[in-house]
Structures are given as structure tokens and as C-alpha cells.
């Protein structure tokens, strides 16, 4: 059947099961936008800024596991997507972005709103396309979705010249793709898996470090079986939080710069690290030369390029976390590791890490704790980046699979609001709390308008401390408290929210916290709470930059400040 390029794109999106598109239109993508209304299966959500579209697509993808879709016009529309695509790239999130482009004849002529978006996004996409023929559009969309969701997921961009949207071609959706240069390995190497099982058997102080790969591959049960069968403590990365129930007896928190002290101590003392679906990010490992110095390392990851990239690995296994764990679980023998677990429990007692001081001031940790209490741990938490992110990850106890959505690799402030919106649209039956900082919230604040218009029932909690808090903490600790450019002049967030059509309230004291959260929960639509928390509260524990995991500092003290004398990498 002959169709226009725009129709081919819409038909293909329907074939891929797309339910929602986040985007903003413009001249170069107008033919496509003119066609979308004829496809009622495709819900379009008009956002306030293209960055919001990309993060919303990410939030949708992270919450549902399906591919998120965003659209923008050429030039500035396309460049505004870049931060969101980079965020998706670093956290392995399946996103397909479709951008308008000037007509083919104008490409390379610096035409109005022409920009080389495939060139710009080359290093932040898994793959990208400049679609030059209407006849190849169906295959391009098919490939884009296939690449985005398989193997190590990631963002794929399709740049679509205006005349290609108008030109006609025969439409037939291809059944399969042919990508000779792309063959992800799912099955782990049998001999390597056998070696891994033997190493686990020999080990006396093993730890599992589980990352987002567990969530992506849905290996929750397999991870639990391995941990329980071999009695290995489970520590997660920040992005791995909620891949293993934190109330489980074998859960020992998450590692890294602001992770639990006992988790970091356990990794530092382990004789075996079984790392699954994680990539040894520097925020997770601390100083690499001091990472798990006594341990042999088994690294299971779907991306062969991650193996040996940052740390030396004794047994590499390339494969899908779930598939590999299924094979490994068959070979692993039952063990006890009773002494080791006892040691960990005593560390946990000595270094509780996650305590909340009893004081009159309104502490952000207290607020998070109460959100956990009132939601009964049943909410999906979406955070931005900074202090509030660390407090949310520390003080909300995550028992439900995939219940923390956060920007890890890129560390994008302003991720929270649009991502929470995308997550709620993808999972309308879930309770979604957006935990924000007062700095990052203002970077994508315009999506309050989208949330109000679409009545997306996201509950927003701003940890308002009047600073770019995490940077202020570094200035406090390493730059002799020279608070340059970190104090903020925040507007009245409640008034702003009301102006956009989102009700809200400000909370200043501990007593008001629980009633406010309950009020937010009882509202049928979105609701914002502006928590005026203690301005100069720092996040602890903390591993100073350049220090090893074992050098974790648990309490505010001079000890931390002495690091300022050292060279911070």
C-alpha cells in the first residue's frame, strides 16, 4: 500500500506498540505531526521543552521496560533533546527519538533550523539514522526499536527530512531486521560459568554487586535464588537499587560515594566479588586501585566492552544477566558463609549509616522516611540529582522491583519532573513520587504545565534547602565553605505550581510532614509539597573523591575536611 513517509512512520510506531509520544512540533516535522491525529492509538503529550520530552520518554521506558518515544523539530528542537539522549545512553535506557530535518535539497546549506543532529548525537546514541528515502523508513523504524530495546538498551535517533515525510512509498512492515554488525550475546560461555561456580564455592567472603542490568533483564528471581542458595550478601549499585528487596536478610544496601558504610566495608573485605549488570562506575568503586583489594572478580555483563574497562576481572562472562544467572544457579552449590554474614551484621550494627538525628529542625532524611511510611513503601520514587537523590536512595526502603528511577551516569539535574511524568503515564496505577531538589526542579519546572494539562497524578516533594546542595557540600568540605554561586533565590514553588494549575502547599515543621503527604495522596491529581528543610545539611556517609571505599566517612568531622588538602581528581 502506498503511503506518505509520515504515514509510514505512524503505521510503524503503531506496529511497534507505541502508546505515547512526548514531543514538541515545529516546521520541519509538521507533515508528521499533521498525520499523528489520524492514528488514535498514538497519544501525543505536548511538553514544555524538548529536554522534558526526552526525560519523559526515559521515565516511561525505565518504569515500563518498553521503548520510550520522543519527537522534536529540526535545529533547536533536536539539540534540546541531547541531554535526555545522553542520560538514556549512560543509563542504558531504550528510547527512540524522531527529529524533523530540513528538506534533503537544503541539507548542508546551513538552512533555517538546520543542524547536523546525527553528527551531534553520534557519541550519545547507540545508533542513529538520517532517513533519506521514504521507501526505507519502515525498516529504519523497525531497526531503531530493535536496537533500542535489545542487548544493552540505549537511545536511537531517526532524523527525518521534511520532504521524506511527504514523499510516497510502498508500505510493508518488515518482519525481521538484518543487522550483521549487531549480534548481542545472551548466553554466557558455559566453561566460564562453570569456573564462576567453582570460584563461588571456594570463596569464604563473597559479595554480589547487582546493577541495573538485573532490572533490565528482569533477573530478580534468579538473583534472589543465587543469593539464597549460596548465602551471598547482595549489595547493589545506585542504579541497581530495587533489584533486590532491601528488607531481605541478605540485602546489605548499596555501595559507593554515599552508599552504606557496611556495604562499602563488605566489598573492601570480600575475597570474591560477583558483579552482575553493572559497569564499575567511579562513583561506585571509589579509587579503583583500592577497590576490593583482596577479591577475585567475576563480571557478568551483556556489553563485552564493559569487561576489563575499569577494573581487572578474573572471570568475564558476557551475556544477559537473567540467562547467565539461570545457568549459574544450576551449578552453584549450597553454602553457608555464616561467619562472613555474622561479620557483615556486626558491621551493620556498628555502622548503621542510615540514621536520622532526633532534632527539632526539619531534616530532608526525615521527610523521605515519612514518605516511605505513608506510602507503605509502595510508591515508585523518581529523583533528580544531588543531595535529595542520595537521601531518597538511602531513606526510602525499596522492596518492590524497579521502584527507584534516577539519573545515574549523566547525573542530570532536572531529570525528576519529566521522568516522573513519563513513569506515571506508563504506569498509571502506580503511585509515583517525584523527589526533587530546589535547584534541579527549576531546570525543567515548565513540565508542571504538562502535568496539569494532562492531569498526570504525580506527587512532587521538593527538598528546598535554598542551595545547590551537593555542590555546597563540596564547597563546605573541600573549599573552606566558600559558598560561591550555590545559594539560590527560589521562587515560591507553591504559587508557581498554582499558576500552572497544580495545587500545593509549603511545609516548614516536622509536625506538618505526615498530614501534608497524606493530603497529597488523597488528591486525585498532581500535588506539590515544598518542604523547607534544614539548609546546610550534608549527606553522609561519604567517600571523599579519590578515596577508597574503605575510607568511608560516616559522620561530619574534621576528618573529611582534611581531604581538601589532598589533590581531588
Amino acid at each position: 500500500m502506498r503511503m506518505t513517509g509520515a504515514e509510514i512512520i505512524c503505521e510503524s510506531l503503531v506496529k511497534e506498540g507505541v502508546e505515547v509520544i512526548f514531543g514538541i512540533l515545529g516546521g520541519a516535522i509538521l507533515p508528521l505531526y499533521d498525520t499523528i491525529p489520524r492514528y488514535p492509538k498514538l497519544r501525543h503529550v505536548l511538553v514544555g521543552h524538548e529536554q522534558g520530552a526526552a526525560h519523559a520518554a526515559e521515565g516511561y521506558a525505565r518504569a515500563t521496560g518498553k521503548v520510550g518515544v520522543c519527537m522534536a523539530t529540526s535545529g533547536p528542537g533536536a539539540t534540546n533533546l541531547v541531554t535526555g539522549l545522553a542520560d538514556a545512553y549512560l543509563d542504558s535506557v531504550p528510547v527512540v527519538a524522531i527529529t524533523g530535518q530540513v528538506t534533503r535539497a537544503l541539507i548542508g546549506k546551513d538552512a533555517f533550523q538546520e543542524i547536523d543532529i546525527t553528527g551531534i548525537t553520534l557519541p550519545v546514541t547507540k545508533h542513529n539514522y538520517l532517513a533519506l528515502e521514504a521507501s526505507s523508513l519502515a525498516m529504519t523504524v523497525k531497526e531503531a526499536f530493535y536496537l533500542a530495546r535489545t542487548g544493552r538498551p540505549g537511545p536511537v535517533l531517526i532524523d527525518l527530512p521534511k520532504d521524506v515525510q511527504i514523499n510516497q512509498a510502498e508500505f510493508k512492515y518488515p518482519e525481521r531486521v538484518s543487522l550483521p554488525g549487531y549480534k548481542p550475546t545472551l548466553q554466557g560461555h558455559a566453561a566460564q560459568i562453570k569456573k564462576a561456580a567453582n570460584l563461588i564455592k571456594e570463596s569464604r567472603r563473597p559479595v554480589l554487586i547487582a546493577g541495573r542490568g538485573i532490572i533490565i533483564s528482569g533477573a530478580y528471581d534468579e538473583l534472589k535464588r543465587l543469593a539464597e542458595k549460596a548465602q551471598i550478601p547482595v549489595i547493589t549499585t545506585l542504579l541497581g537499587v530495587s533489584c533486590f528487596p532491601e528488607s531481605h536478610a541478605l540485602s546489605y544496601g548499596w555501595l559507593g560515594m554515599h552508599g552504606m558504610a557496611y556495604a562499602n566495608l563488605a566489598v573492601s573485605d570480600a575475597d570474591l566479588v560477583v558483579a552482575i549488570g553493572m559497569r564499575f562506575d567511579d562513583r561506585a568503586t571509589g579509587r579503583v586501585s583500592g577497590f576490593a583489594p583482596q577479591a577475585r572478580i567475576i563480571h557478568i555483563d551483556i556489553d563485552p566492552a564493559e569487561i576489563g574497562k575499569n577494573v581487572r576481572v578474573d572471570i568475564p562472562i558476557v551475556g544477559d544477566a537473567r540467562v547467565v544467572l539461570q545457568a549459574l544457579n544450576k551449578l552453584v552449590t549450597t553454602s553457608k558463609h555464616a561467619d562472613w554474614l555474622k561479620q557483615l551484621d556486626s558491621w551493620r550494627k556498628e555502622h548503621p549509616s542510615i540514621t536520622i538525628r532526633d532534632c527539632e529542625e526539619l531534616l530532608p532524611q526525615f521527610v523521605i522516611n515519612k514518605i516511605h511510611e505513608v506510602t507503605g513503601g509502595e510508591a515508585t520514587i523518581v529523583t533528580g540529582v544531588g543531595q535529595h537523590q542520595m537521601w531518597a536512595a538511602q531513606h526510602y526502603w525499596f522492596d518492590r522491583p524497579n521502584s527507584l528511577i534516577t539519573s545515574g551516569g549523566l547525573g542530570t539535574m532536572g531529570f525528576e519532573l519529566p521522568a516522573a511524568m513519563g513513569a506515571k503515564i506508563g504506569c498509571p496505577d502506580e503511585t509515583v513520587w517525584c523527589i526533587a531538589g530546589d535547584g534541579g526542579f527549576q531546570m525543567t519546572i515548565q513540565e508542571l504545565g504538562t502535568i496539569a494539562r494532562e492531569q498526570v497524578a504525580v506527587k512532587i516533594a521538593i527538598m528546598n534547602n535554598g542551595y545547590l546542595g551537593m555542590v555546597r557540600q563540596w564547597q563546605d568540605l573541600f573549599y573552606e565553605k566558600r559558598y560561591f554561586a550555590t545559594p539560590l533565590n527560589c521562587p515560591d514553588f507553591v504559587k508557581i505550581a498554582e499558576a500552572y494549575g497544580v495545587p500545593g502547599m509549603t511545609v516548614k515543621s516536622k509536625q506538618e510532614v505526615v498530614p501534608a503527604i497524606k493530603k497529597a495522596m488523597s488528591e486525585p491529581g498532581p500535588f506539590l509539597i515544598n518542604f523547607m528543610v534544614k539548609p546546610e545539611e550534608n549527606v553522609y556517609p561519604m567517600i571523599p573523591p579519590g578515596a577508597a571505599l574503605s575510607e568511608i566517612i560516616e559522620e561530619p568531622s574534621k576528618e573529611v575536611r582534611s581531604w581538601s588538602a589532598r589533590n581531588i581528581p
Binding site: L130, S136, L179, P180, G181, A305, G308
Partner: protein, 178 residues
């Protein structure tokens, strides 16, 4: 860890932008490409690239794996070592006078190189060989004065039955989108 030169042979889909993807990746991962040579392979729609980079074995292996992740790259192998034939072609334009022209010709003969152009004050030499041979000839000719040199960059092929090409399967799609 010793930094040495590595020769990578890569089979890539013949599509617009593939060279850019490759070069961009080396740049991003902090590798300086010493030479790169691209041309058709024995398979339609598939180009063969030979890239020479310097680095430790571990670093080059990391970049090789990153290159292998590119969707347009079908295969990439590190062929550094004994079992590999490497060749480069150079055109060298040497300053020449009637007095020293025969001396230049003798030097060229020793290297089994050819003179492909002669003018009143220069001769142009074409030489093929491994990098070392070309560098040696270049050094000798430098005494006469070099006006210009153009080198193709190294191409490489493994000896005997070992292949860097796509021996296992031929890709179904080999159509250029250009």
C-alpha cells in the same frame, strides 16, 4: 604496560557516516589514529578499513571492543604480529638536478621502487612496502631534498588461512543507502 603500534582490520558496512563513526569513537576514547586506509572488500557493500593506533595491549583491546559495538561494524580484529603482511604505498617527489639524478635512480633501484615522473628539477618515486622500508627510503632521499610526500597508510592481511574478513557468514544486507 608498553605502548606499541597495533594494526586493526575492520569490515564495515559501506554507508554514509561510517568513517565518521569510527574516527569519532577513537577520538572520544582518547586514541590517536596513526593511519587509516579504507577501500572496497571482496564483498559487495562491505568496506575494509585498516587502522593503525598506538597503545598498550589492554587499551587497544578496549577500543577494539568499543569499535565492535558500532552497528555498522561487522567485524574488527587486531592483526598485529608476525603472521600479518602489511603494505603501504608512498609517492615521494625528490629535488633532482642533472648531476644527482642517476644517484637518486640507483637508490630507488636498491629499494625496488619506481620513478613515475621526471621533470627538470624533480623526480617522483613510487614505493611499496612495509612502513619500515618506506621510512628507510624516505630517510635516504631526504639528503637530496624532498619536495612532497604522500603515504596511503598501512593496509594489512593475515598470511595463509587466517582471515580478517567475514569467513563465517556473508551478511544478507549489502546494499548501499547512498
Amino acid at each position: 604496560m608498553v605502548s606499541t603500534k597495533h594494526t586493526l582490520v575492520s569490515m564495515v558496512a559501506d554507508r554514509p557516516g561510517v568513517l565518521n563513526r569510527m574516527a569519532s569513537l577513537f577520538r572520544r576514547r582518547g586514541f590517536n589514529i596513526e593511519s587509516i586506509a579504507v577501500g572496497h572488500s571482496e564483498l559487495p557493500g562491505i568496506s575494509r578499513m585498516t587502522i593503525v593506533v598506538a597503545g598498550t595491549a589492554a587499551m587497544v583491546e578496549q577500543v577494539r571492543k568499543q569499535v565492535e559495538k558500532l552497528v555498522d561494524v561487522i567485524k574488527v580484529s587486531d592483526v598485529t604480529g608476525e603472521g600479518t603482511i602489511t603494505r603501504e604505498l608512498a609517492l615521494i617527489k625528490v629535488r633532482a638536478t642533472s648531476a644527482n639524478r642517476s644517484e637518486i635512480m640507483q637508490t630507488v633501484d636498491i629499494f625496488r621502487a619506481n620513478i613515475v615522473d621526471v621533470s627538470a628539477d624533480s623526480v617522483t618515486v613510487e614505493v611499496t612496502g612495509d612502513e619500515q622500508k618506506i621510512t628507510s627510503l624516505y630517510r635516504l632521499l631526504r639528503g637530496f631534498g624532498i619536495k612532497e610526500i604522500a603515504r596511503t597508510g598501512v593496509i594489512a592481511m593475515t598470511r595463509g588461512n587466517v582471515s580478517s574478513s567475514l569467513t563465517e557468514e556473508k551478511p544478507a544486507r549489502a546494499k548501499s543507502d547512498k
